[in-house]
């Protein structure tokens, strides 16, 4: 198999095939050691690969430590003089793009956006609040307090359209996923899964502990971009009352 390890003093980067029409650029090996720094580096790599506009590249996505690059091998083959070494050609272009010195333009991505998300933590929306409190050995009020004073970053958008995986959860609040996932979770549900918190954008099954709900719509296919949050965004939660929740909906 193909495996390229570059021992650059800044980025020990690995580029690995993800089938014949995609590849993964592993920018860093670990995430939890330095989430903020890792995410910034991954975002920078994402932006640089995008700006390089490499022929045949269809779409990019990022998650925690890596950027994935989806491409059409037929178009790539037309652009290279060595179609039998498609992957190596792409990997070389990607390395050059990521290494590529100063960023050509100050784009919206270069400084992360800050997004505030109103959340109603009323018991009706928080079937697992008591469980999370018990697990943390604190009161439910303290759980809410810790959760909404935290500063988070979207480390990845995925699993289902618009689902933000938020890093930065207070260590105390980390709670294992439910043994038996729920068959149906209402859209807007705010949950804790392991050391992360997130929001279910769509009615879907899921195993996270639910502690609140936001009236905001996280995914709207008729908009471009279709999601409220993007990878890299800074996120804060703000407590709202049940009445405020209802008035948002109107």
């Amino acid at each position: 198999m193909f495996r390229f390890a570059q021992h650059d003093k800044i980025t020990p980067m690995e580029i690995i095939p993800l089938g014949d029409s995609a590849l993964i650029v592993r920018v860093r090996e670990r995430f939890e050691d330095a989430p903020e720094e890792t995410l910034n580096e991954v975002l920078r790599a994402f932006q640089r690969i995008r700006n390089a506009a490499i022929p045949g590249v269809i779409e990019l996505a990022l998650a925690y430590t890596s950027v994935s690059v989806f491409f059409d091998p037929v178009t790539v083959a037309k652009a290279t003089e060595t179609p039998d070494k498609l992957f190596e050609w792409l990997a070389t272009r990607i390395r050059a793009a990521v290494a590529g010195g100063a960023d050509p333009s100050r784009t919206a991505r270069s400084s992360p956006r800050s997004v505030e998300i109103p959340v109603c933590y009323d018991s009706e929306f928080a079937p697992d609040l008591d469980h999370v409190a018990e697990h943390a050995k604190i009161s439910p009020i303290e759980v809410i307090d810790l959760h909404c004073t935290g500063e988070y970053r979207a480390a990845c958008i995925g699993f289902v359209p618009g689902f933000p995986f938020l890093s930065g959860l207070a260590r105390k609040l980390a709670t294992p996923r439910r043994d038996v996932p729920r068959k149906e979770i209402p859209p807007g549900s705010v949950g804790i899964g392991g050391a992360q918190t997130g929001i279910y954008p769509l009615r879907s099954p899921g195993g996270w502990n639910l502690i609140g709900r936001t009236p905001l719509r996280l995914f709207d296919p008729d908009k471009n971009p279709p999601t409220l949050l993007r990878a890299g965004d800074r996120v804060r939660f703000r407590v709202i009352t049940r009445e405020e929740f209802e008035s948002f909906k109107r």
Binding site: M1, P17, G19, E59, A61, S68, D84, I157, P161, P221
Partner: protein, 304 residues
């Protein structure tokens, strides 16, 4: 550009190549929207004259009461019915209609995302009584003279379904996390297709694939074709509607030219896997594309 960075999968037919071929047969652009028919049972009536073609599993298809074999363009007259029976082999068929299915485009695509319930026709599977809008019909000159054209496409493009197929794969990023006996089992044993398979993935049952480590992996991208191995040791082959990221180890990836075969797997079938190199996967794909371009030229000569 796609929307994968927002968690939206590429969608579309599970065998996009098959639909490209059938689209050409009916005079459409290769990217026109068609129908994916799972396990047959579709009956449709046309309001005006159209040219149709289909490909996929071994279905019994009839126009009025005339059998229509896979990948032959056929003329359907206004009021006539097109019927798909239960497939003998495979589970999916793709139907192209001249003019294409004219549903609105959402996020740059006419395909349906069943999980997120958007796109296509009201973001859902079709039901009895639905009326589908069709695009402008481009009259094919050959269609006027023949009910069913004799012209067709290569058999392995149009009828890829097999009960016990061999799927070619390249090793995945986590190949080395599995022990030697497991890797031997993957390439020597048959895996039974489980009934709880869908457009997201084919669940496979066979001897347990065992990892040597139990390190928690950081979630990263997965793609159609990825073979992931959850803790149960029973592999899942991801298909077109798969989620965008995953945290299970990736033991391998089925190559693109075999997606048409993978898309036909149904409960009771048995899949085997054989390893190829990434360079071979690309070579096979580029060869097929060259043949497809020759086929396109052939079609345009036929209908001019």
């Amino acid at each position: 550009m796609g929307f994968r960075e927002f968690g939206v999968s590429s969608g579309g037919t599970l065998d996009s190549f098959g639909l490209r071929v059938t689209n050409l047969l009916v005079g459409n652009d290769e990217g026109a929207a068609g129908l994916e028919i799972t396990l047959g049972g579709l009956q449709s009536r046309f309001e005006n004259d159209r040219v149709v073609a289909w490909c996929g599993g071994e279905f019994d298809v009839q126009i009025a009461s005339t059998p229509l074999p896979a990948c032959h363009a056929a003329h359907v007259r206004a009021g006539e019915r097109l019927k798909f029976g239960w497939p003998q082999i495979g589970c999916r068929a793709w139907l192209a209609v001249s003019g294409g299915i004219d549903v609105p485009s959402t996020l740059g695509s006419r395909s349906t995302d069943l999980r997120a319930q958007f796109g296509g026709f009201e973001g859902r599977t079709l039901r009895d009584g639905d009326q589908l809008p069709l695009g402008k019909f481009r009259q094919l000159q050959t269609a006027a003279t023949e009910r069913i054209s004799t012209w067709t496409a290569p058999h392995d493009w149009t009828s890829p379904a097999k009960r016990d197929p061999m799927l070619r794969f390249i090793p995945g990023a986590d190949w080395n996390r599995f022990n030697a006996p497991t890797l031997r089992r993957l390439t020597s044993e048959a895996f039974a297709v489980s009934p709880d398979s869908d457009r997201m993935g084919v669940r496979l049952d066979g001897s347990k694939l065992e990892r040597m480590d139990n390190v928690d992996l950081i979630s990263e991208a997965v793609a159609p074709g990825t073979i992931q191995v959850p803790p149960s040791g029973k592999p899942i082959l991801l298909l077109g509607d798969c989620q965008t990221i995953g945290g299970y180890p990736k033991i391998g990836h089925v190559i693109t030219v075999d997606f048409g075969v993978a898309a036909q797997l149904r409960a009771g079938d048995h899949a085997r896997f054989s390893e190829v190199s990434l360079a071979d996967a690309h070579r096979l794909l580029l060869e097929r594309e060259r043949e497809f371009q020759r086929f396109r030229v052939g079609i345009s000569l036929q209908s001019s």
